[in-house]
């Protein structure tokens, strides 16, 4: 037995050797990026439930796939998915081909590609969300709509920077501040940008307490911020049960492309409100949500290969994402200011910024900023109205973009 030869083969097949071969340095950079993301998730607690999984998926993908070594041991195969999306390829949209050659993360990614995970996450979100504040003050929906401004401004900005229409639509939806919606739309329209878009969406969501307060101060006066809102009416159980049925029927008939997201969101909410499906509600908001979060985060992270991530487009996406978030916040605040005057100064415009979705963090920011100016003010429940309206608003925005570019 040639011990030296065997050792040499082992060395040449190892990832350590691959770092010194063609393109290997890029893997090293991606591994460092994964470490930074892990740090942000674990130490800084930036959306840790998602970011830890995304970072580790990125790490696994870049540890196991090297251009110079081939794809024998890879957990994720970018070239398989390139064939899957290539209309000229015999394997166009062939899940069978993927399954026959896939690694573990390719297999998990099928759930993202088919739009299953984001929809199931939405079911969990629905099961966790109390739409009572929205029902007691339906005008909140206007704030949820105003706060989608960033989606379309960022879309336009992306076109100016040379992105294609479907790519610009996927970048714009970051402004909806809704991770599952961003992932769902991007997988359908521009899967090549999934990694950077998911990172941007979840990072900025975690940074909402830093991004929003300066804008809230800039677009409202002290007098506005001090407004104490009156308690809203009680919502009956029957109304809460009818709500998911009415919204599903209405929104899906209006925009059929929203069916997977809105349908699952409202199904989860129906489980919560019926009072006879507590076990299903519990599963949707805990066990199922946790399982799907693991699969979703890890497989989205796996798409962050060096080839797809290390380019100027990623920088553009990060910048456009920040613009999208900020403009959406400004849109919600402008809507809030308009409602402040329209209501005879009874509505505190700070609740407008909560229209960016990101439940419940954006509502908490409204509460915190409001209390800074009036210690007796409790805006949380008032802000939850626009907050959950933002979820529906971003799903409608995604549905619109999907119907145009899908």
């Amino acid at each position: 037995m040639d011990i030296l030869g065997t050792l040499q083969t082992l060395w040449l097949e190892s990832g350590f050797a691959a770092f010194f071969m063609a393109g290997g340095w890029k893997n090293l950079v991606m591994i460092l990026i994964a470490f930074v993301l892990l740090y942000l998730g674990i130490v800084k607690k930036f959306e840790p439930l998602l970011l830890c999984g995304i970072a580790f998926g990125c790490l696994l993908s870049n540890l196991s796939y090297f251009v110079s070594l081939g794809d024998t041991n890879a957990l994720y195969h970018p070239e398989l998915w390139a064939e899957f999306l290539d209309t000229a390829s015999p394997y166009y949209h062939s899940y069978g081909h993927i399954m026959a050659h896939c690694g573990l993360l390719d297999f998990l990614y099928i759930g993202v590609k088919a739009g299953i995970y984001p929809s199931l996450i939405f079911m969990g979100v629905g099961a966790m969300t109390d739409f009572g504040p929205l029902l007691s003050n339906p005008k909140s929906l206007i704030l949820g709509a105003s706060a989608q401004l960033g989606v379309f401004v960022a879309f336009f900005g992306a076109i100016l920077l040379g992105f294609t229409g479907p790519q610009a639509a996927s970048i714009g939806i970051i402004g909806g501040a809704d991770g599952p919606t961003a992932i769902y739309l991007t997988t359908k329209l521009a899967p090549e940008l999934l990694g950077p878009i998911a990172i941007a969406a979840y990072s900025y969501m975690a940074l909402i307490p830093l991004i929003q307060p300066p804008l809230m101060k800039l677009f409202t006066t002290e007098e506005m911020r001090k407004v104490r809102m009156e308690q809203t009416r009680d919502v009956s159980k029957t109304e809460k049960i009818l709500f998911p049925i009415v919204v599903s029927t209405f929104v899906i008939l209006l925009l059929p492309s929203t069916a997977p997201l809105v349908g699952c969101l409202m199904l989860g909410n129906l489980f919560r409100e019926t009072g006879v499906t507590d076990r299903l509600s519990d599963t949707a908001q805990n066990a199922l949500m946790n399982i799907v979060t693991i699969f979703l985060a890890t497989s989205v992270g796996a798409t962050m290969t060096a080839e797809s991530f290390l380019n100027i487009k990623t920088i553009y996406i990060i910048v456009l994402g920040l613009i999208a978030f900020s403009i959406s916040t400004i849109g919600g605040l402008i809507g809030g200011v308009i409602m402040y005057y329209a209501s005879g100064k009874k509505i505190n415009p700070l609740i407008g910024s909560a229209g960016v979705s990101a439940v419940p963090m954006a509502a908490r920011v409204s509460q915190d900023v409001g209390r800074r100016y009036n210690k007796t003010n409790f805006l949380l429940m008032h802000a939850m109205g626009p907050n959950v309206a933002g979820v529906i608003g971003s799903a409608i925005a995604a549905g619109f973009l999907l119907s145009i570019f899908g």
Binding site: P138, L141, A145, I159, P166, T238, L255
Partner: protein
């Protein structure tokens, strides 16, 4: 229209249309929810009125005052604790236990200094 390589003018039109569709969709949903709310409030009032009419008029015995937990009315002792903090702590405890605050008995609250 070439939706992949969009011109600036086309992008503006799509952005405006999209924002309009989101607004219109949520505005219509708001109207639907408002109508639903009005119907629910009206039917609740109707049911309450019908119940009040149907109920026979009889003398209502004076309600026996509910026995509150002893010590809930001002007997709590505070050690190095601000009354506002104490009120907040009691409210949190009541909320966590799912019991009305006036049915709980707080004897004392003391700040533990390490």
């Amino acid at each position: 229209m070439d939706l992949v390589n969009l011109q600036v003018g086309q992008a503006v039109r799509i952005a405006l249309l999209g924002y309009g569709v989101v607004f219109l969709g949520l505005l219509m949903l708001m109207i639907v929810i408002m109508i639903l709310g009005k119907v629910m409030i009206a039917s609740r009032k109707k049911a309450e009125t019908a119940a009040a009419v149907a109920a026979p008029v009889k003398e209502v015995p004076a309600e026996t005052p509910k026995a509150y937990a002893e010590g809930s009315a001002g007997e709590i002792k505070l050690y190095d604790t601000d009354p506002k903090d104490a009120a907040m702590i009691m409210a949190i405890v009541a909320n966590k236990l799912g019991k009305p605050i006036n049915e709980l008995r707080f004897k004392s609250i003391k700040e533990i200094k390490e």
